[in-house]
Symmetry: C2
Subunit: 210 residues, 2 copies
């Protein structure tokens, strides 16, 4: 991760108030935004944690993405269709920056430096985000629950440079993230434990194979 772009500097520069940017606060479980209108909205999560979730016609929930500090999301990255109910839900108290992609290439009234910086930094942020999204696809294209679990664990392990790591959300949410049934996932985790492939202690897992 050491060669990744650090968004912190970018956020720092936001502090000079730009008239096209809004900062809002959300309490845990509040809905931050819903992807229903085409308004090219882009958001940056300054503080807290949130999930992008979809509810299908059965009310079945899928966690599409999980956001932590400095993650970027927004309806601008989605083709909004009728059949999808996408929304971003705060999992903790959140501080969120909103702006429109439409304004990205227009200078604001104050002629602030913000847009120049934004244009320069935006594509770097995008490349980083693309990596995350592609990682997610890697996991989802695995055919079995077992492979999805191990695929995700491998990524967490690689990120931490350690065979032991914690999952960044509850097991219930992990099932949603891997897009599998929770009980089926629990069963598979049990099998993996029984076969000596992993160890589990609450939300902390250890990969035992070389």
């Amino acid at each position: 991760m050491d060669d990744e772009y650090n968004i912190d500097n970018f956020i720092e520069k936001f502090s000079k108030n730009c008239d096209n940017v809004q900062k809002k606060y959300f309490k845990k479980n509040q809905v931050i935004t819903t992807y229903i209108q085409k308004r090219n909205q882009i958001c940056i999560l300054l503080q807290g944690e949130a999930d992008l979730v979809r509810y299908d016609f059965n009310g079945l929930k899928s966690i599409i993405e999980h956001y932590a500090q400095n993650d970027v999301f927004g309806e601008a990255f989605y083709t909004v269709t009728v059949n999808n109910e996408l929304s971003v839900e705060a999992k903790k108290n959140c501080e969120v920056l909103f702006f429109s992609y439409d304004n990205l290439y227009n200078e604001c009234k104050e002629h602030c430096d913000f847009h120049k910086i934004l244009m320069n930094d935006f594509s770097k942020i995008m490349v980083e985000k693309m990596k995350l999204v592609n990682t997610r696809i890697e996991i989802l294209t695995k055919r079995t629950t077992r492979e999805k679990i191990l695929g995700y664990f491998d990524i967490l392990s690689t990120r931490k440079f350690s065979k032991s790591f914690e999952i960044p959300f509850s097991l219930t949410d992990l099932a949603d993230y891997l897009s599998v049934d929770r009980s089926a996932m629990m069963r598979e985790i049990k099998y993996l434990k029984d076969e000596g492939i992993i160890e589990k202690d609450g939300n902390k897992f250890t990969i035992l194979t070389d």
Copy 2:
């Protein structure tokens, strides 16, 4: 799609040769690039069709993405790991533009206009690409083969503004793209036909429900 950024103008500007950009030609079935080294490579498919494929340890193939004219891909968008063998394979004869993301924000020796244009346009391209990738995630997070098929068909239908459409690859490849077993997919397609939900004529499908 009418509000989408049109890459054609961008490609047009490439014609002024920039020393950091290479154009290469590939025959059908040739490997365009393999994601094994960290070199921040970005590619634009000027002509032809190609697939980003993964072969897992069993040799099982998954089509991660399908590229048509003007699509953008490259190892820069992936976190290269040991356990993944990713490569881009030409499905037809291809003409591909290669450049490195590292050079994106440095002027080239010739001080050509290319980089300025690239910087300005790149984030727009990225937003479009992000939409495609997120669409893919939408499909993959569906729990059943039926939902994946219908989800994908719905997208194709929406893109064409028509209940009838052709899939852009073979049924074999479609199964890989949806990340399901081919025979299971064929069976499900048969059920969908039997239930009067879809009609099939070769690679052309029609959605019969309102």
